[in-house]
Symmetry: C2
Subunit: 197 residues, 2 copies
């Protein structure tokens, strides 16, 4: 019993402390911040979908060419390319983080003036924005090579043979960039909302 009272009191005290110094009446500026928090939640759902979509599409990109012999098999799979492996793992991590961040996003909807959750979200969002950007860019670099090849190093374009594989990996990279853009937008929005605390 004592613990519950303590927690309740301290949190209510903290919240009132956080709010009162600002303007005095905390309800006035709450409107647009609640709106920002709700948009944050919706964008986060979109980013989850695109991150998991990217990871899943890349993980299932696998093509065996039909003209293989008994001993020689032409197969392209994401785990042949280290950049694509990194892509799958890190996009899955980003998606997992985004799912875990949903409760914090809900907290900012309920309490639009709480600084703690917002700061927590913006810092982790930035870290995972960097992870998502890195994997998307590394994937894009390899997809580009697969499409166009490189004459000077004698790397041939493999997309003529592995058409489906190339389409799947390209789609995964595009989906990853969608989640990067959503995350960047999330982070900038949170920074603007933080600014007026």
């Amino acid at each position: 019993m004592s613990t519950t009272i303590e927690v309740g009191e301290s949190s209510s005290r903290k919240v009132s402390k956080e709010k009162t110094p600002l303007i005095g009446a905390p309800k006035r500026a709450g409107g647009w911040k609640k709106g920002v928090a709700i948009i944050d939640f919706i964008l986060r759902l979109g980013a989850i979908a695109s991150a998991f979509g990217a990871a899943a599409t890349m993980a299932m990109a696998d093509e065996v060419l039909p003209f293989f012999t008994q001993f020689l098999k032409f197969e392209a799979s994401y785990d042949n390319f280290t950049a694509f492996q990194f892509f799958v793992i890190s996009m899955a991590f980003v998606g997992g983080y985004l799912v875990l961040s949903l409760p914090f996003s809900i907290v900012t909807i309920i309490r639009p003036h709480a600084v703690g959750p917002r700061l927590f979200l913006i810092i982790l969002d930035m870290v995972f924005l960097t992870v998502a950007t890195a994997s998307a860019a590394a994937g894009a670099a390899v997809v580009y090579l697969a499409h166009n090849g490189n004459q000077d190093s004698n790397w041939l374009a493999i997309c003529n043979q592995f058409t489906d594989f190339c389409q799947q990996t390209s789609g995964a990279v595009i989906s990853a960039f969608v989640s990067v853009v959503l995350l960047l937008f999330l982070v900038i929005m949170t920074a603007v909302a933080l600014r007026s605390h």
Copy 2:
């Protein structure tokens, strides 16, 4: 019970100290914010050095193999690889932005409580953090392929032949990642400083 009261008091003191500048007396809490602004400036100089260093190292990476014939020339240069071209251009952009951001960083040193320049800096820093991460990761993906090759797509490692070229490009990628880490640190620091405005 005594502990909760202590905590409550200290936090309330802290909060009131941080918040008062908003209302009118800017001098009291300026200490740590000025410190943050100075560290921001120093880190920014480091990020400029590493960004331009990365761009310059990559741009000068060029190797002609000694055993070329009259008609056939083996040359590896950064502009044969699209990912490396993107790397040079975008790292130069990042360095240029960082130089242009120095005046704003100085403004935050002089006026540690100004919200505008800090918000401006954090938003543009995040955008260029994404650009720097993308170019570093794309460069890293191609450097990895140059070092290790890829058996399934029949891309051979070219680093056995172009040793110097590979060392230069690897160094450029490492330098780019240094500037990414510095930028990430800058952005997180600015977010924490913004939070208590």
